[in-house]
């Protein structure tokens, strides 16, 4: 398997919204490629016709009763907010010109 390209690592970092430095990218190229190489072993296994397992228990479509219950007090929820304005979480402008 070929080593991940610099552009590929940058692309993944952008998708994951993780900021990276040039040095990070270099290390990640190396380490992620090593890990991915260890995944190659799976190609040896024939999984034709095998259905995928998403979770190990037999539960499906767990439905709760539609009951009104108290939720957490607004003050409790906003307590950890890095920045707030009134009863809102505050962020920088989302939509720019």
């Amino acid at each position: 398997m070929m080593k991940l390209k610099r552009e590929e690592v940058l692309h993944i970092a952008a998708l994951a919204r993780v900021g990276v430095t040039d040095a990070d990218v270099e290390i990640m190229q190396e380490q992620l490629s090593n890990i991915l190489e260890n995944f190659e072993i799976l190609k040896k296994l024939d999984t034709e016709g095998v259905s995928p397992t998403a979770q190990s228990i037999a539960l499906q479509n767990v439905i709760m009763k539609d009951e009104i219950k108290a939720s957490l007090p607004q003050e409790d929820v906003l307590f950890n907010a890095p920045q707030r304005e009134g009863d809102f979480f505050k962020v920088k402008v989302v939509l720019e010109d």
Partner: protein
Amino acid sequence: MANFRQQTLYETHQQLKQKQISSLELTRAYLERIQQVDSKVKALVSVTAEKALEQARQADNLIAAGKMTPLTGVPVIIKDNMCTRGIKTTCSSKMLGNFIPPYNATVIEKLDAAGMVMMGKANMDEFAMGSSTENSAFFTTCNPWDLNRVPGGSSGGSAAAVAAGEAVYALGSDTGGSIRQPAGFCNVTGLKPTYGRVSRYGLVAFASSLDQIGPMTQDVRDCALVMNGIAGYDERDSTSATQEVPDYTKSLVADIKGLRIGVPKEYFVEGMQPEVKTGIETAIQKLAELGAIVDWNVSLPSTPYALAVYYIIAPSEASANLARYDGVKYGFSYQEGNSMWDNMQKTRQFGFGPEVKRRIMLGTYALSSGYYDAYYLKAQKVRTLIRQEFDQAFTKYDMLVTPTSPGVPFKIGEKANDPVQMYLSDVCTLPINIAGIPAISIPAGFAGGLPIGLQFIGRPFSEETLFRAAFTYQQATNWHMKKPAL
């Protein structure tokens, strides 16, 4: 309690019940013990002394009123990824360094209702990603058996705290071995219950289809007592199991005559330490002497693929779960950037440590367009094969026995810069989470003064079988009673 002697949960309960000691006296003794040893072991991220003393007073009231359960008034330590209302829950991450949860995890509610005394929150690998606690953003916990070595991980703080006598028992969480591997490394008993047996509500999510909370205790009797207190259906966890919870202490019967035990050869991996192999073989021999019917020649051929399956599925789920850390609602928040997106990227760049970022990147890659089928879907299909092999084995055997880890605790720093080598220390525990089945690690001897862990694996909801076998083994051996000199 001038001369500290570590006692089991069972013994402690008897003493509290017979009023030989009050919870307040006991709590003070453990706070003193923490003060004496935690500067060496560094198991705890926070010590909640005031809260503990308050809870101890409440517990003494419960005891006086005759409203006592086996957990009432007993000091416990909680891994720092379980939400405690009003008490910092950091996941040993800079990202949650100041996070104070507005609610309790279900396990905390249950222990609270039983009158627990929480001494503090245990160190761990950041967001439970790691096998040594070296990925903690704060510090590395030391193995009480050799302070230059790791306690295992990710629940390394919980394991070390129990081994060092900083609490009577602890809770850990296990996504790929994070209860069992450190239990093995620190000579304590650790159970990963069947997926869904213990509610995950309020457990900070890592890989939701694999995560499970469980007890870390001094022996298997204590393990059963803690399970009685924390297991059960919870409507707030949609993957919670609805099966009735048995009284686990009823399975503490010293008799395994006729128990069919399989030994899967793939778990004796290449590169396994010879003393560990010998120790495990001796332990299995002991089970045979005690009356179990042992088949030494079982094969689970998909086992070598489990590591790859795990390191695709767990990071994929983690990359989705950890998307919530955006610096907006809680946690670390970078605010000097030039836009909202810039702030978000830098929040995640500076808030997460290297291993967490590595796994987020890996998971994002495995789920990204063009690679999904080759990695994620393929891994899910192999997951089916691994499960089927276990199902098949359990038609012939009541239980499987393996090492918990292929080696003894390694030196701090030894594997820190080689993720692939680090991942290998979990090869014997990962397949169990992939299949969602229960497994327990119990002490089984020492190699060069360092503990060896023995793993029992059972079919779904067969915790009672594991307890019975582990109890029988512990009645016949005294490895679990050995304590480190600190």
